[in-house]
């Protein structure tokens, strides 16, 4: 019964989505106020029915209702409750349902926090989101219905992919989807603004907090995925340039560019058409990510099931979305005049550099990800593009980006003097240089140029951000949240950069063969292997090793890496033993048994690896603070669109604050 209710709710949601995508937008054309007013209630009803459908699937999982094929394939009675719930989005059908649910959550949120936006604009925005909803609901109902029944009913289900039976991964997909789908709001705003033919500061101001929040979720989602890969896959790596990782990185890069470009569009009425284009691309790349993951065209950790029919559907949907929005853009863009002028040294150009570099990064990642697909499709052989390709190209782009980041905060809108800028930052520059040389010499075994460069850029970015906060000349408690947000996000990026460069330069990784009782010394630590014993878990059997780590006779940690077997023909899982810390991680993973008591073991010493994720957490915090700046709420309450003149005045006061500082 419950699955049928869920299925029915999905069908109803589709009908409502159709109404939502047709009537409000038609109402704006025909001046039918009643149709326009349908936007809000349909968006909320959509959320209601998607929630019902989702709840039905959750209940089916909790009840272990194996008459539902999707439940039978991904769950069994032995699984802990948390994984029964996370199994809902553990495979294709359920994750699509989650996608749809999150889309309706975003649409309903837009309908709630819409005071001050004109009814016509809101109708357009919600209609566009309704159209996306129609696409995904059709996809779900036609090719991947999560409520499909299974006969005969099996007595016991199979199991959730053991890789996914982990708390970090239980919340990784919802976070990532919140980010992916969140960009649909910015996208819908851009499309709506183009339909209205008016791209003023208002739409940018409107889209900014939404884009920020979506970006925050995407940041958290990507960081969780990377962290999970680090401790769960047992390779000790945190980023593999795997095509699906790339698929999530691309919307993030474009989203980051969008956040900065929206600032210019709002405050200076420049970059207008460019911003719209970024909004379209951020969401299109999210869709592309979904397509790449779900179509099975990629060889990847994430490519579980491949079904050409599904891939084709998403591809058509992708082409429709990208195609129609680009057509609309082509028609409207020539009319969009960017009124704000600026000179070569100005904050606008600083942000332009940010945008150009981020888009260039996206392009290189896109090329590296899709190139093998094209070559294969053309029958020219099967190639893989290795991580060195991505690393080689991100390095120079990153250097440009991070150098500009430090200057950018101090640049004035419209026109600035290089001398003034340099006078402000020269001491910071010197300090960053000193730190860059001291850190590798004092704290690391050897000096390398790359590490020094990484430390320099990181300290340059974070010190300039701190100086900038101090320059505001106000008590830190009275500063607008947007200022804090920007500073913290920049510092977060710096922390991540420091983590990446130091850990990739100074990690020691060793695969060794150890007999029970043998020891191995690495990076000053002595690893003693005490053998392996069998342990029974709730739904798995594990081989559990014991490694005692000492340093100069002093006990540091006892680690218990495991090799788990979840039965049912699934792959064995490696649970690494990690002694984590602020300055270094010690990482031990079991390899394979090599005879009587001997095992192959992976021993890693990774300096400051946790900074990578600490930085991501700071970035998320920064994005969040900025999204909740009072300014956005006040503007909404005032409910008036500012004329360009007024926004000039706003910008002028902003510059004045900097001058007084």
């Amino acid at each position: 019964m419950i699955p049928e209710i869920g299925h029915f709710a999905l069908v109803l949601a589709l009908v409502i989505a159709l109404v939502q995508s047709v009537f409000p937008i038609l109402g704006t054309v025909t001046n039918n106020a009643q149709w326009v007013a349908m936007a809000k209630p349909t968006a909320r009803a959509q959320l209601l029915f998607m929630s019902i459908a989702f709840a039905c699937l959750v209940i089916s999982f909790l009840d272990s209702d194996f008459s539902v094929r999707y439940v039978a394939n991904n769950s069994n009675t032995l699984m802990p409750t948390i994984y029964k719930v996370s199994a809902v989005w553990g495979a294709h059908e359920g994750s699509l349902l989650l996608w749809g649910l999150i889309l309706s959550v975003w649409a309903a949120l837009v309908s709630i926090f819409s005071k001050g936006i004109s009814a016509v604009m809101l109708a357009r925005v919600l209609s566009v989101m309704g159209m996306i909803g129609v696409g995904f609901l059709l996809f779900m109902l036609l090719t991947s219905n999560p409520f499909e029944r299974l006969f005969p009913i099996p007595a016991e289900g199979r199991t959730l992919n053991p890789l996914l039976q982990d708390p970090g991964l239980a919340i990784h997909p919802p976070m990532l989807y919140m980010g992916y789908v969140g960009f649909s709001v910015a996208f819908a705003f851009a499309i709506a603004a183009m339909l209205g033919g008016k791209l003023d500061a208002a739409w940018a101001r409107w889209a900014r907090p939404w884009t920020n929040v979506a970006w925050v979720f995407l940041t958290i989602g990507i960081a969780l995925g990377s962290w999970w890969a680090y401790y769960e896959l047992g390779w000790g790596g945190w980023w593999f340039w795997d095509p699906v990782e790339n698929a999530s990185l691309m919307p993030w890069l474009v989203g980051t560019a969008l956040i900065h470009s929206l600032a210019v569009s709002e405050k200076r009425a420049a970059f207008k058409s460019w911003t719209v284009l970024l909004a379209i691309f951020a969401f299109s790349l999210s869709l592309l990510g979904t397509f790449l993951v779900r179509s099975g065209v990629l060889t990847s950790v994430h490519a579980f099931a491949s079904d050409p029919e599904r891939g084709l559907f998403i591809l058509i949907f992708l082409v429709l979305v990208v195609g129609s929005s680009l057509v609309l853009y082509a028609i409207r863009a020539p009319k969009l005049r960017s009124t704000g002028t600026f000179s070569v040294i100005s904050r606008e150009v600083g942000l332009l550099v940010n945008n150009v570099v981020l888009v260039a990064m996206t392009a290189t990642v896109l090329l590296g990800t899709l190139y093998p697909l094209f070559i294969d499709a053309l029958g020219m052989g099967k190639i893989s593009v290795g991580p060195p390709y991505f690393n080689t190209l991100s390095l120079p782009l990153g250097i440009v980006l991070f150098s500009a980041m430090g200057f950018g905060l101090f640049l004035r809108w419209k026109k600035d003097k290089p001398e003034r800028l340099f006078a402000k930052v020269r001491w910071v520059l010197l300090l960053a240089l000193i730190i860059a040389f001291l850190v590798p010499i004092l704290f690391m075994e050897s000096f390398t140029v790359k590490a020094a460069l990484g430390v320099f850029l990181a300290s340059w970015v974070s010190l300039t951000a701190l100086l900038w906060v101090q320059e505001q000349g106000r008590s830190p408690f009275k500063l607008p949240l947007a200022i804090w947000g920007a500073a913290i996000a920049h510092i977060g990026m710096a922390v991540t950069v420091a983590g990446i460069s130091l850990t990739s330069m100074y990690s020691v990784e060793k695969d060794v063969r150890l007999d029970k009782g043998e020891t191995y010394e690495m990076a000053g630590y002595l690893f003693a292997f005490n053998g392996v014993e069998k342990v029974q878990g709730p739904n798995y059997i594990a081989q559990r090793g014991e490694i005692v780590i000492t340093r100069k006779g002093e006990a540091i940690a006892t680690l218990h890496p495991e090799k788990r077997n979840y039965g049912q023909g699934t792959m064995p899982m490696t649970e690494a033993g990690i002694d984590g810390g602020f300055f270094r991680d010690l990482f031990v993973a079991l390899g394979e048994p090599l005879g009587e008591q001997a095992w192959s073991l992976r021993l890693y010493h990774k300096p400051v690896v946790n900074w990578i994720w600490l930085g991501a957490a700071l970035m998320s915090l920064g994005g969040f603070l900025a999204a909740f700046d009072k300014r956005y709420r006040m503007v909404r309450r005032r409910s008036q669109k500012l004329t360009p003149k007024q926004s000039d005045a706003l910008a002028a006061t902003a510059t004045k604050q900097e001058v007084t500082a």
Binding site: N161, L163, G234, G296, T299, S300, V301, A303, F304, S306, T341, S343, V344, V356, A360, A363, T364, L367, G368, Y371, D376, G381, K382, I383, S384, V385, G386, P388, Y389, T392, L393, P396, D511, V512, R513, K563, G569, T570, M571, P572, M573, T574, G591, E592, L594, G595, S600, R602
Partner: protein
């Protein structure tokens, strides 16, 4: 500077950036592309020696030989039609590495057709087989009847 000048400067800068980027990309691509070969193609001498390539196939039954003192090991990759290449490796094999299962190895080929692997990739999921390996195993110009051996992916 007039608006026109500015636009020209921006366009020139943009073109320079694009040119620099495409140069860097082609360079980076050139040194980091790894083509996938089948054992048959390697034996036919189609694969370059001493360059980073990938080799895909099935791990031959009972071919895994380990050293008693270190992690050194070797195994044979086959296409089940008698074309075999010996692969040498000195790191930990992935969890799903098994004899009679598919694997892709990345590394270099020596002059006497020994493969020195830097990385061994097995599939990620018990049911999942990398499409590329499937292609390599199926694509050969052998008659269908020959390929009838039961291969479980």
């Amino acid at each position: 500077m007039t608006a026109r000048h500015k636009r020209i400067v921006f366009i020139i800068l943009g073109l320079c950036a694009v040119a620099a980027a495409s140069m860097m990309i082609t360079q980076a691509m050139k040194s980091n592309l790894a083509y996938l070969y089948a054992p048959e193609a390697v034996l036919a001498g189609e694969a370059p020696k001493d360059r980073l390539i990938r080799l895909g196939g099935l791990v031959k039954k009972d071919s895994l030989v380990r050293s008693q003192t270190s992690l050194d090991l070797s195994f044979v990759l086959t296409d089940n039609r008698g074309h075999e290449i010996t692969v040498n490796y000195n790191k930990i094999l992935p969890d799903l590495f098994k004899e009679e299962q598919s694997a892709v190895v990345k590394g270099k080929l020596t002059a006497d057709n020994q493969f020195m692997a830097e990385e061994v990739l097995a599939k990620h999921d018990a049911e999942y087989m990398p499409p590329e390996v499937k292609d390599v195993l199926e694509q050969e110009h052998t008659p269908k009847a020959d390929a009838k051996q039961e291969v479980k992916y």
